[in-house]
Amino acid sequence: MTLRNRELVNLFVVAVITGLGFASVYIARQEVVSTASLSYALFFFGLYVAAHAVARLTVPHADPYLLPLTGLLTAFGVTEIYRLDPDNAFRQGLWIVVGVAAFSATLILLRHDFRRLESYKYIFGVTAIGLLILPALPLIGQTVNGARLWVKAGPLQFQPGELAKIFLIVFLAGYLREKREVLAQGRLKDFGPLLAIWGAAMLVLVETNDLGSALLYFGIFLAMLYVATAKPWFAGAGMVLFVAGAAVVYQLVSRVETRVTIWLHPWTDEKVFCAQTGGLALRQECDSYQLVKSLYSIGNGGFGGKGLGKGTFSNSGGDPLIPYLNTDFIYSALAQELGLIGIAALMLVFMLFCLRGFRIALLAQDGFSKLLALGLTFGFALQTFIIVGGVLRVIPLTGITLPFVSYGGSSVVANFILLAGLLLVSNRANATANIPMEGRP
């Protein structure tokens, strides 16, 4: 079976799984959900077959599992978003269409040689910084939930940080490939760029009040630096610098301090000051309300889950009890409805995505491709860890999207571009390598 036929078969399996998921939401909530719900599954299958057709034409040798895995992740997301609010699912569906269009455009534009991106690395670097600064600008910048991550231009509202992540990875792949030998010598004067990027990460942290994004960008940088130079202590020193910087910011920015307090002590026995109401309240009734309720709902899901369409807590008005359930907390909604067994499957799907991505990095032949594939995969993995770790109280919670699953346009579109990048690297690696590939006899 050729690689692309294998992809098509996998997409078909994913479509059946999606259909089963939609069907169970439909049956469980037939009083709210219209009969059109099942057409969602068909619509998605059609959309992914279109993406598959573009891949067949542009990247015939690319990995056959990444696209079906993506399909599965978006299906998990849309099913749960649909279950929470059908209108949002419609919008998310539109964003996935835009995402597939961006995916196709990336593949078509770069089908001959994506490595010419390397010549434009500084343009990518500067654009990434520009995008990161955008939300801090007056007029267009928007503060949502105390974090300044949004840009509003007319009716459009987006998070430029998602796209900046990909541009930053392209820049770092080009830059580190060129400078890695100089950096590997470890002379003090060569540490200028490293310190500059650390400074930039700290600035992003202060500017946006968001620990998660700063951790994400800096983590991607450290991973790529380690791969480029093979010096573990670079990554170690970088982490120490980050922790030191974050500790200083913790003292200065009250929001970061609040996040850490919520993480360490979500429950209090006595009433403490509550900034939202201005009075005294138990912390679980105030700052850590969202996190604590989310932990309860994950616990409520138990091993087998409440069943799709039947689980999540809602208030007397019928709205979800947990704010931002379909973005930051979609993990806990899924955990409650699918249980440990279902959410473990979701995490396995994420791991498989990363496994395929790292495999592409291993097989890539030249430095730029290797660094690009590794950076894209690591960024994807770290983002998943930051939000899932935050929801499970492993690390302080920061509002960041669960790739492909959370409700949110910028994230979906950016991650589809990331997927296109991985397929391009994979196509080139598999086409030029003479090693035996799975799928070939």
Partner: protein
């Protein structure tokens, strides 16, 4: 639409079946991919890490890498004839501009980033890096990357190189 007519006990039964189907198929799908991934583990592995010396020290890369080859200048308006550029795992970039391994500074026919010679698993490959005037291998303009064999002549701008082992 007969489903709407069934009693609530039946709905629970149907939901349970759907759930088992959903999870069962999901885990089967995951298992399939894991199985192919475990086949990959038996393939010769490469390291993520790019710097060859350190990787070698860490035992991550096979020690006896064969000599990769070198480029010898045959004719050039800017470089000294017979000077040599030894190929390492990072490859050689050729172009006008100091960021290149081989900098052809006053060669007006060379582009800033002109061509690249790089070792891959199956040999040494020459490829054009999007130059204006093209890269020539044994007098033929390169349209796609080509594998080099010893004795090949590479022309970039007005400079000729010979590829030797």
């Amino acid at each position: 639409m007969r489903l709407l007519a069934v009693s609530s006990v039946d709905v629970d039964g149907v939901l349970l079946l759907l759930k088992i189907g959903f999870l069962g198929l999901l885990y089967l799908f995951i298992w399939r991919i894991v199985r192919t991934a475990s086949k990959d583990l038996r393939l010769p592995q490469e390291s993520f890490i790019l710097a060859p010396q350190q990787a070698e020290a860490a035992g991550l890369r096979k020690r006896s890498s064969p000599p990769m080859g070198r480029l010898v200048v045959v004719k050039s308006p800017v470089l000294e004839v017979k000077s040599e550029y030894v190929l390492d795992s990072a490859g050689i970039s050729i172009g006008r501009g100091s960021q290149n391994t081989v900098a052809l500074d006053d060669d007006e026919f060379a582009s800033a980033s002109h061509a690249r010679v790089e070792p891959r698993q199956d040999g040494v490959w020459l490829e054009d890096a999007g130059s204006t005037n093209g890269t020539y291998l044994n007098g033929v303009k390169l349209s796609r990357p080509r594998k080099l064999t010893p004795g090949d002549l590479v022309r970039v701008g007005e400079t000729d190189f010979r590829f030797d082992r």
